[in-house]
């Protein structure tokens, strides 16, 4: 009898989650087109009244603050020499938590499941060099804090000097990344991407760089901060093209209904800019020329 109940439950769960998954997807798409801010928020509250019960409440002192990040994304979030997770974004998150009296929990996530992790409440925010451009309506965003740009990395020996030189070449890009979205966007760089021989997706930059070295791809599109870190640790032989693909901003992504925590984090960020902690961290990670959060 137990087996029966168990198997029925399981079957139901599988079918159920599939249909639920599709359902929420399509409603999300609708929300994208809906007007933003107040009106958009109202429709969200109606359709997703259920999810709202988890957390739109602001956090109190002593609460945990769970940050979801990709631990393979230096210099924003990665593993340090002692095996602890660190990076500009994570240290900034720690500073925010210290200020607010929250307990920081660093949860490395599978980047492909970031939305499920966030919506189900297993993380409080996505904070890891997260590009807000093109995703404006999908999350509740903090104030942008880094001016990022997408660039092309080529090997020096390839002789490629500008974006036009990429015509007919094989270009690599990380799966689910902002660079990939940009290259597939009609209003972005789709025209440029159409001139490539192939747009090859990679799970991580490590394998992409080996392929670049081996000559099986000719260029890799990525965030400029990441490109700088890679070139610094890998040494000679690579170059970043002067022409940028775009400029965009990093911000912290919260659940759509979670403006409470967002406001608290914004407030804390402002204080950190004022007392100089923010600039100090930016200098430590060598991205001081990119940060864009200024004291008012």
């Amino acid at each position: 009898m137990k087996k029966k109940i168990l198997s029925v439950l399981l079957a139901a769960a599988m079918v159920g989650s599939l249909t639920v998954g599709c359902g929420s997807n399509s409603s999300e798409e609708k929300k994208d087109t809906a007007p933003t801010t107040e009106e958009g928020k109202e429709t969200t509250e109606e359709t997703e009244a259920k999810t709202e019960t988890i957390t739109s409440v602001a956090k109190k002192e002593g609460d945990t603050f769970t940050v979801g990040f990709d631990a393979e994304y230096p210099p924003y979030g990665y593993m340090d020499d002692n095996g602890d997770y660190t990076g500009f974004d994570l240290e900034l998150a720690q500073a925010v938590c210290d200020l607010k009296g929250w307990k920081l929990v660093k949860t490395p996530i599978a980047w492909d499941s970031k939305d499920m992790e966030l919506n189900s409440g297993s993380i409080d925010c996505i904070w890891n060099g997260f590009t807000m451009n093109g995703r404006e309506d999908d999350y509740t965003w903090s104030d942008p804090y880094v001016d990022n740009s997408q660039v092309m990395v080529v090997s020096e020996s390839s002789g490629i000097k500008d974006l036009a030189g990429l015509s007919g070449k094989i270009v690599g890009v990380q799966a689910s990344s902002a660079a990939l979205e940009l290259l597939q966007d009609e209003e972005g760089q789709k025209k440029l991407a159409d001139t490539f021989a192939t747009l090859q997706e990679f799970p991580d930059y490590n394998s992409a760089f080996v392929e670049l070295q081996a000559g099986s791809v000719d260029a890799i599109a990525m965030d400029v901060g990441v490109a700088k870190y890679q070139l610094e640790t890998r040494g000679e032989g690579y170059a970043i093209l002067d022409e940028e693909l775009n400029t965009e901003k990093y911000a912290i992504g919260f659940r759509k209904d979670d403006t409470g925590t967002r406001d608290q984090v914004n407030e804390a960020l402002k204080e950190l800019v004022k007392d100089g902690t923010f600039t100090k961290l930016a200098e430590k990670y060598d991205i001081a020329d990119m940060v864009c959060l200024k004291a008012e």
């Binding site: 087996k3 029966k4 168990l6 198997s7 029925v8 399981l10 079957a11 769960a13 599988m14 159920g16 989650s17 639920v20 998954g21 929420s24 259920k50 999810t51 019960t53 988890i54 769970t66 979801g68 631990a71 393979e72 994304y73 230096p74 990665y78 593993m79 340090d80 020499d81 002692n82 095996g83 949860t107 490395p108 996530i109 599978a110 499941s113 499920m116 992790e117 919506n119 189900s120 409440g121 297993s122 991580d204 930059y205 490590n206 760089f209 080996v210 890679q230 640790t233 890998r234």
Partner: protein, 216 residues
């Protein structure tokens, strides 16, 4: 990060992978036996339902099952899936999946037993439970051991799928260290760890096979 630190980190990760491995076996081996009874049940409804269970479990990727078990409770009942549930979900998904495979292995062993043995046991006055546990099961275990070894070795390598729901086991750590160091060294270390562990499993299982080979 120097080499000894990489070894130390990955050894720590290996413990987490072994945790998945051991707990999965502890739960799925007995559960598999129960499911195999359901599969062989004379009750048509029970055997049909169990058949569907096995078919779904074997017919969909383990990675997808991990996602369903972890995120399912939230999307279906808005349950809180924070805290320790991540690890529980890993074990639950692995145990449910592997139990389906083990059930079929048990069935292959049990159904290969000649019916004459049941008849002889009945004449000797054995009850049904006694017949199964004293006569049939010991022979079944002997017969299915090579097939079980196959599954167990696959399980060692499958532990790396746990990162689909952000459980940082050994292979995930190897990827993270590789990203930080921008080298492939951690992967080689990870491969050696997996190989040694599987070698150990194979040796132990072979030893067990020899031990059980008491009639030759």
């Amino acid at each position: 990060m120097d080499f000894t630190k990489i070894l130390e980190m990955l050894a720590g990760g290996m413990l987490k992978s072994m945790g998945i491995f051991i707990l999965t076996l502890v739960f799925s081996l007995p559960l598999g036996l129960i499911i195999s009874f359901g599969r062989m049940s004379k009750n048509k409804i029970v055997s049909f339902i169990v058949k569907i269970y096995i078919s779904v479990m074997r017919g969909t990727p383990l990675m997808l099952q991990l996602l369903v078990v972890f995120f399912g409770p939230f999307y279906l009942w808005e349950a809180n899936i924070g805290g320790p549930y991540r690890f529980i979900a890993v074990i639950l998904a692995f145990a449910l999946n592997y139990a389906a495979y083990f059930a079929e292995i048990y069935r292959s062993g049990i159904e290969s037993m000649p019916s004459g043995q049941y008849e002889a046991a009945q004449i000797l006055g054995y009850s049904r439970a006694q017949t199964f546990f004293k006569i049939i099961l010991p022979q079944v275990i002997k017969r299915i051991l090579p097939a079980v070894t196959n599954e167990v070795i696959t399980l060692v390598k499958d532990t790396s799928l746990a990162f689909a729901i952000a459980y940082t086991e050994m292979f995930t750590l190897a990827k993270q260290i590789a990203a930080k160091e921008t080298t492939f060294v951690p992967f080689i270390v990870a491969a050696v760890f997996y190989y040694i562990f599987n070698l150990l499993v194979a040796v132990i299982m072979e030893h067990a096979e020899k031990k059980l080979n008491y009639y030759q």
